[in-house]
Amino acid sequence: MTAALGGAVNTIAALCEFTGGKRTFISLLFSGLSIGSIAALAALGFLLMQKATGVISFAQGDMITLGAYIAIWWMRDRDAPWLLAYVLTLVMMFGIGIVLERVAYAPLKGRSIHVVVIATLGAALVIRAIIALWQDTTPTSLFSPLKGRDPVKIGGAAIPPVKIAVFVVTLVVVAVMIAVFNRTQFGRQVRAIAADRETARMHGVAATKMSMIAFGLSTALAGLAGILIGPTQNVDLTLGFGAMLAGFSAAILGGFGSLGGVVIGGFMIGLSEQIVGGYCLSEYKSAFPYVLMLIVIAVRPQGLFSRGAAHGRL
């Protein structure tokens, strides 16, 4: 038994190559944290929308892309200063979220989950095409005041400031979101809706208003993810798709439960890809988040951080 276990460990170890020492580890760690941050932001968007409306939008990935393009448009074509451009982008994304709620979700309220999913898929295709028509499909880049700055030296590793910014901004946003959820009227109402829609409605929670705000906020979160992820790579139409998948995985790891769980899920996704994938089977590293997700669905479908066992199918 132990021999077999040892053999298995050896086999796995043979697939891994631990090189580069502390420097590489710290670099991978920050890479993982920045990818995890994006996953966490995307997952927060899903969670918020899901809590308030019961829907998971497959358009979220293209919303991330749209956020990056709107920021590019403000800065490149409208010459807005970067901070103003960021703020305007988030405001516009909030508005677009509300429009999406009115156009693609409200008319389908009360219909089957299948219908809503297909509607969000349709919305995703339309958004992507609109970006293509508006901004062209040639890959472009998003300015960031931190781009091109000298790397920060941490433990011998050179860490791009952009990545540190992604991580720090995400932590701040998560803290704000948790405060909003736990301390404000809005947060209480969303939680009430999530617990029991009918009862919440009877107690005077304006479900329509809540769902509009939730769509707005989660779209703004997608926009923020777009602004943060944009400067770390080329911006093209596929920018948000990978982030959306990572966000799905993160939300499943967190069990669509608590904000904290989903955020930790996001960082697990990022670290599993970068740290585990950085040393072991690195060609396949982008599969690791999905493998992790499938394992969680198989073993603990209610998520890693939800209390109690799941009954029935999730």
């Binding site: 448009w73 429009v99 508006w134 062209d136």
Partner: protein, 433 residues
């Protein structure tokens, strides 16, 4: 007190959002580069192309309009059958990868030829069929071309397209000049999966030959002891890196790491770190434009400041404008042909006609039409087999170089190494093989 503003805000939010969308949609008319579906990213410049023409170069473009290049035909030829050529490439806007140069260069040559009386007294009919980047779409377009039974087919700038379509062309027995230099497409390819055949001539310089030349160049210029390799994970990257690895070993240069990435990679941190660990003197990169940009920028971000020598995609990465200055100055590229620097006279003529400077793609379709003209004139007929045999004996002086058919049906045997220091394209060295 607080009630009214909230309501007003609520009433305003949707119109404002809508207006901002409309404003966003309308405010951008000056940039008229159109677009299309977005599931694929731009392919490698070594195979097909993406963007605008050569930027600010040192070229002085003053020459008067030149005559057609120097192929002299047998003057007595009179053809009975019509001559038709079909071009398989996209024009601006038909896909994210599309650009105008293929169509423009071919059109320019056709117009010149027809203005001068055609080939053998026959006006050349020319048609372009958009060939999508996906292999299946390319085959579909190739079959459309075959159905029209042209004298010669030209086009297909991507390796996936050529690999998929070459067998159809052989079956149809129509001579074709195809643009992608995927190793499997050459007649003398020895590995598994070769699709080269006597009907298919390959226009662009062989990737593998360029790879060998890149190693030789690097050895002369930088005399490195340790080199890292990065190759895109497709036939083009794999074959080129195989050659580079062999050549480097033969020169006694250590290959510290050999990393791969997908053509649509958006984060190359893992590759950068792995390369950094090997502590090489420079990097040889066989890649697509987008990954080159990401990679070059991330090298700087992670504090790696060594030169990297890339292929023709480097030019597109440069022109796309997404490189930081520091990253740009460490970048070297290998171009097939830079008409704006190598043939100013022709470039000026092209610019007169199309309103912008040409790139290698325009030069190559232009040359291809004249190569076909010469072949038909040598063959003395439009009989496919005769034209094919004549193409196999091509020797043609084109815009940048002289084309000669080799034993693998490859036509193009030169390239130039350039850098982009200070934001201009500078020729470092001319290669021929």
């Amino acid at each position: 007190m607080g009630e009214k503003p909230v309501k007003l805000w609520r009433r305003l939010i949707i119109p404002v959002a809508l207006l901002s969308i409309v404003a966003a949609a309308c405010g951008d008319d000056d940039d008229d580069a159109p677009a299309a579906e977005g599931t694929t990213t731009a392919p490698a410049a070594d195979e097909t192309t993406t963007t605008a023409a050569a930027a600010t170069t040192t070229a002085a473009t003053t020459a008067p309009s030149a005559d057609a290049p120097t192929t002299t035909a047998a003057p007595e030829l009179v053809l009975d059958e019509p001559v038709s050529i079909i071009g398989l490439y996209e024009d601006t806007g038909e896909s994210p990868a599309a650009q105008p140069y293929f169509a423009a260069g071919a059109q320019m040559a056709i117009d010149e030829i027809n203005a001068a009386g055609g080939i053998g007294g026959q006006e050349v009919s020319y048609e372009r069929i958009a060939a999508g980047l996906a292999a299946d779409a390319a085959v579909q377009s190739t079959l459309e071309a075959i159905d029209a039974a042209p004298t010669v087919i030209i086009g297909l700038p991507s390796s996936g397209q050529v690999i998929a379509a070459a067998p159809e062309i052989a079956k149809a027995e129509i001579p074709a000049i195809l643009f992608s230099a995927a190793p499997q497409a050459f007649l003398d390819y020895e590995g598994e999966g070769g699709v080269g055949n006597e009907w298919v001539f390959i226009y662009r310089p062989r990737n593998t030959a360029i790879a060998a030349q890149q190693v030789a160049f690097v050895n002369d210029e930088f005399a490195p002891t340790k080199v890292a390799l990065l190759c895109v994970n497709n036939p083009f990257g794999t074959a080129s890196c195989d050659v580079m690895e062999t050549e480097l070993e033969a020169l006694g240069i250590e290959v510290t790491t050999r990393e791969t990435n997908e053509f649509d990679a958006t984060d190359m941190t893992t590759q950068v770190l792995a390369i950094q660990n090997g502590d090489p003197d420079l990097i040889l990169n066989v890649n697509f434009p987008n990954p080159i940009t990401v990679f070059a920028n991330q090298l700087i971000e992670n504090g790696v400041t060594i030169p990297h020598v890339d292929g023709a995609s480097a030019g597109f990465a440069f022109l796309a404008g997404n490189l930081t200055d520091e990253a740009r100055d460490l970048l070297y590229g290998v171009e097939d042909c830079l008409p704006t620097l190598q043939n100013e006279e022709w470039s000026a003529k092209y610019e007169d006609e199309f309103g912008g400077p040409p790139n290698y793609a325009a030069a190559e379709t232009y040359d291809a039409i004249y190569i076909i003209k010469a072949a038909i004139e040598r063959a003395g007929s439009t009989d496919p087999a005769a034209v094919r045999d004549a193409l196999a004996e091509t020797s043609h002086e084109g815009i940048c170089t002289t084309y000669e058919t080799d034993e693998g049906n490859g036509l193009h045997h030169s390239a130039i190494v350039v850098d982009y220091e200070g934001g201009t394209i500078n020729i470092i060295k001319e290669l021929s093989f």
